[in-house]
C-alpha cells in the first residue's frame, strides 16, 4: 500500500506545490483553469476537519489537567449517595469508561437529545484554539519552528513508553499477539481497504496542506528524496508506535485476565468455604470440574456469575480511534507505578501530535487565503488567522454539547473519507492527463535536475488511479448494501454501547458534508466554463 499508493501520491503533491508556488487553489488553477474546484474542495475538506479535530485536543487537555491528582480520577469509581457502594453506572462498566462517557463527555443517550453545552469542555476547546492561534499567528514560516517541538517530543515520549511498556508484566502477550499473522484477517479484503485508507490519511494527501507547505520550499529542493524519506519515516513510526501500543495492550489484557481469575477464585472460595490458597490460577479448571462433580446444585446456582476468563478475548477487544486513545490507554496507565507521570507524558504527546495536525490543517486553509490578493492586502495575517480560529471555535462548541460526541463521529467518519479519495483521484488524473505527464517531467527536470524514472510514471498514470477507483467503488457498494447508516450510542442503564439509526436530519448533514466538498470540483469547472463563455462573447461582440 505504501509503495503503490503512498509514495507516488506524496511525491506528486510535493512536486505540484513546489513548482506552482501557490496554495492548493492557485496551484490547480495554474494546471488548468477548470480545476480551480479541486483546490476549493481541498480547502473545504480542511475546513471541516479543523472544525472537529480540535475537539480531540480539548479532550487531551482535559485529561492532562486531571492527571495532576492522586489517585487518578479515572482509577476509581465515585461513590453513590449513601456511600455504601459505587455509582450504579460505574459498577456496570469500568471506571475508565465511566470517566470518559460520564465525566468527560456527559454523553446523552442518543443523538436527538442534544443537551447543554458542557462549560468545562468549552473552556478546554477555547484553550486548544488559542494554542493553535499562537502557533500560526506569524504565518507558516513560524509554524516551521513550532513543528520542531511538536514532531520531536512525541518520539521522546514514545521511546520512554517503549522502555516502560516492554518491562511491564504481560507485555509479551501483546507483542506475540501482534506478530502472529492472523491469516483469516489477512484474506479479508476489508483489511486491505482499511490499510489503503490509513496510508491516505496518515500521509495527509488531498488536504492541500502538502501543497501549501511545499510552496514555501526552495524551487530546487529535491522533493523526490523528501517524498521517499517522509513516507518511509511515517511507516516506520507507525510500526514503532504499534509495538508500544501492543505491549501496553498486552499488559492491560493480562491485568484484566488476572483480575477476572481472582474474582472467580474469590467467588468460589466464598461459596464453598475452601481454604485460602487452595484455588490458584493454575488449578482453577480442575478444581471447577471437581466442585461441579461434588456439589452440583450449588455450582449450578453459581455458574451464571462465573465468567469464563480468557486472555484471547481480552486481546481481541480491539478498539481504535478516540476509544483507544482515551479509554484503553488511561486504563493501562492507572495500573502502572507513578501513574501521574506516565499520564502527563502520554497526554502531552497526544497534544503535540494533535496540535501538529491542526497546524497542517490551518495552513491548508490560510495559505490560499493569504495568497489571494483580495483578502491579503486588506487585512494583516494576524487578523485573518484570528478570524478563522474564532469561527472554528464557535462552530466547535457543537461538539461540546451532550450529544456532541455523536456529531463528532459523523464528522470523523464522513467529512473527509469520500471527498479525499475523489480529490486525489482528480489530482492524479489532472496532472497525468490534462497537464500532461511530459510537461510534468520537464518541470521536475528543471527543479531537481533529473527526470522521474519509469516507476513513478507508471504509478501516477495507472496504478494509483486504479487503486483509488477501486477503493471508491468499495465504499459506495458497502454503503448501498448496508442500507441505512447506524451509530453507537452509550446506554447509561446498561453501561455499554448500543447501535441506533441516524435520524433524518443527521443523514441530511452527512449528505451535505460529502456533497459540499465533492460538488466543488464540477461546480468550479462549470463556473470557469461560464466565465470563459461570457468573456468570449464579450470579446466577439467588441470585435
Amino acid at each position: 500500500m505504501l509503495i503503490a499508493e503512498g509514495m507516488p501520491l506524496l511525491y506528486l503533491e510535493l512536486a505540484v506545490g513546489q513548482r506552482m508556488r501557490r496554495g492548493s487553489i492557485g496551484a490547480w488553477k495554474i494546471i488548468s483553469p477548470y480545476l480551480c474546484g479541486v483546490g476549493v474542495a481541498s480547502v473545504v475538506v480542511s475546513f471541516f476537519l479543523s472544525m472537529y479535530y480540535n475537539v480531540i485536543n480539548a479532550w487531551a487537555f482535559w485529561y492532562l489537567f486531571h492527571s495532576f491528582q492522586d489517585p487518578l480520577p479515572w482509577a476509581t469509581c465515585p461513590l453513590n449517595s449513601n456511600r455504601t457502594g459505587y455509582e450504579e453506572e460505574c459498577e456496570k462498566t469500568s471506571s475508565t469508561q465511566y470517566f470518559w462517557y460520564r465525566q468527560t463527555l456527559n454523553i446523552s443517550p442518543s443523538l436527538e437529545a442534544s443537551g447543554n453545552v458542557q462549560w468545562e469542555q468549552a473552556l478546554c476547546l477555547t484553550l486548544a484554539w488559542l494554542v493553535v492561534y499562537l502557533c500560526i499567528l506569524r504565518g507558516t514560516e513560524s509554524t516551521g519552528k513550532v513543528v520542531y517541538v511538536t514532531a520531536s517530543l512525541p518520539y521522546c515520549v514514545l521511546i520512554i513508553y517503549l522502555i516502560r511498556g516492554l518491562t511491564l508484566h504481560g507485555a509479551v502477550n501483546g507483542l506475540v499477539y501482534m506478530f502472529t499473522p492472523k491469516l483469516e484477517q489477512l484474506s479479508n479484503p476489508k483489511t486491505w481497504i482499511s490499510a489503503a485508507t490509513q496510508i491516505f490519511f496518515s500521509l495527509g494527501l488531498g488536504f492541500g496542506s502538502l501543497i501549501a507547505f511545499a510552496s514555501y520550499n526552495e524551487p530546487t529542493n529535491n522533493c523526490e528524496r523528501h517524498a521517499i524519506i517522509v513516507s518511509l519515516i511515517n511507516s516506520t513510526t507507525s510500526i514503532f508506535a504499534s509495538i508500544v501500543t501492543f505491549s501496553i495492550y498486552g499488559f492491560k489484557a493480562t491485568f484484566n485476565y488476572e483480575s477476572c481469575i481472582n474474582k472467580v477464585i474469590l467467588l468460589l472460595l466464598n461459596a464453598f468455604d475452601l481454604e485460602e490458597g487452595s484455588l490458584t490460577a493454575d488449578n482453577l479448571n480442575e478444581m471447577k470440574d471437581y466442585l461441579m462433580a461434588t456439589h452440583p446444585q450449588e455450582y449450578a446456582q453459581l455458574s451464571p456469575q462465573l465468567k469464563n476468563c480468557s486472555l484471547e478475548a481480552e486481546l481481541d477487544t480491539a478498539v481504535q480511534g478516540t476509544g483507544l486513545a482515551f479509554i484503553v490507554y488511561s486504563e493501562a496507565i492507572k495500573n502502572m507505578e507513578v501513574p501521574q507521570l506516565y499520564s502527563v507524558l502520554y497526554f502531552v504527546m497526544l497534544l503535540m501530535l494533535g496540535i501538529g495536525s491542526m497546524l497542517g490543517n490551518t495552513a491548508a486553509i490560510l495559505t490560499p487565503l493569504t495568497d489571494s490578493r483580495v483578502i491579503a492586502t486588506r487585512f494583516p495575517k494576524e487578523v485573518i488567522s484570528g478570524v478563522v480560529c474564532f469561527i472554528n471555535c464557535v462552530i466547535g462548541l457543537i461538539f461540546t454539547m451532550e450529544a456532541g460526541n455523536y456529531w463528532f463521529d459523523i464528522f470523523n467518519d464522513y467529512a473527509a473519507t469520500l471527498s479525499l479519495l475523489l480529490i486525489v483521484l482528480v489530482e492524479t488524473i489532472a496532472v497525468c492527463y490534462i497537464y500532461g505527464i511530459r510537461r510534468f517531467e520537464k518541470d521536475l527536470y528543471t527543479m531537481i535536475g533529473r527526470k522521474p524514472n519509469w516507476y513513478w510514471k507508471i504509478m501516477w498514470a495507472f496504478a494509483s488511479p486504479l487503486l483509488i477507483i477501486s477503493l471508491f467503488i468499495f465504499y459506495l457498494t458497502d454503503y448501498i448494501l448496508t442500507g441505512t447508516l447506524q451509530y453507537q450510542a452509550w446506554d447509561a442503564t446498561q453501561g455499554q454501547l448500543v447501535t441506533k439509526d441516524y435520524p433524518s436530519y443527521a443523514l441530511a448533514v452527512i449528505g451535505l458534508l460529502v456533497a459540499a466538498s465533492t460538488m466543488c470540483i464540477p461546480l468550479g469547472a462549470l463556473v470557469t466554463f461560464i466565465r470563459k463563455r461570457l468573456k468570449r462573447e464579450r470579446v466577439s461582440t467588441v470585435a
Partner: protein
C-alpha cells in the same frame, strides 16, 4: 478484651461454631454480667460498624481482606480539594498562552510600524536621489524575497505554461 457498647466482656465469652477450611467463623457474644445470654445481633453489628478500623488493624487486615457478612463497609470518599485541581492547571496554561499571543501580536505591530517608517524614510531619500535601491523590472529586490519569486512572464515559453482551453 473487647468493648461492646458499655459492657466489658472477656475473651472466654466469645463462642465459636461452624468452623470451616476457610479462615471464616460464626460467632456470638455472650454477656456474662447478665447470666450468659447472647448479645442481640443488631447490637453486635452496630458495634462492629463503629469499630471496624480497630478490628481490622488487630488482625492486620483491611476491609477488603476481612469481610463481615451482611455488614457492608462504608467506603471513604476520595479527597476533594476546595478548588478542583484541573482548574488550577487550566488557569496556569491559559495565562501562559494568552501572554504569548499578546506578546507576538504586539511585536508584529511594532515591526510593521518600523517597516513603514523605514520605507517612508527611504522614499524621502529616493526623492532626494541619495539612495540607490536595486530594482528589477520595477520591483525592489527585497519584495522579491517574499515567496521566492513570482513567475516571470519573460521567461515562460510563450503559452506553453498555461493549458489551452
Amino acid at each position: 478484651m473487647m468493648i461492646i457498647g458499655l459492657t466489658i466482656c472477656r475473651i472466654s465469652d466469645v463462642l465459636l461454631c461452624n468452623v470451616t477450611d476457610r479462615v471464616s467463623f460464626w460467632f456470638v457474644v455472650t454477656d456474662s454480667s447478665q447470666n450468659m445470654t447472647t448479645v442481640p445481633g443488631s447490637v453486635v453489628e452496630a458495634a462492629i460498624r463503629m469499630n471496624r478500623n480497630r478490628i481490622n488493624s488487630a488482625f492486620l487486615l483491611s476491609d477488603k481482606t476481612l469481610q463481615f457478612l451482611k455488614i457492608t463497609s462504608t467506603l471513604s470518599p476520595p479527597v476533594e480539594p476546595s478548588t478542583p485541581v484541573w482548574l488550577i492547571v487550566f488557569g496556569v496554561v491559559l495565562c501562559l498562552i494568552v501572554a504569548g499571543i499578546v506578546f507576538l501580536v504586539v511585536a508584529g505591530i511594532q515591526q510593521r510600524k518600523k517597516k513603514n517608517k523605514e520605507s517612508t524614510e527611504r522614499e524621502n531619500l529616493e526623492e532626494k536621489g541619495e539612495v540607490t535601491v536595486t530594482v528589477e523590472n520595477g520591483i525592489p529586490c527585497e519584495a522579491l524575497d517574499l515567496k521566492a519569486g513570482h513567475i516571470n512572464g519573460v521567461f515562460a515559453a510563450d503559452d506553453e505554461r498555461f493549458t489551452s482551453l
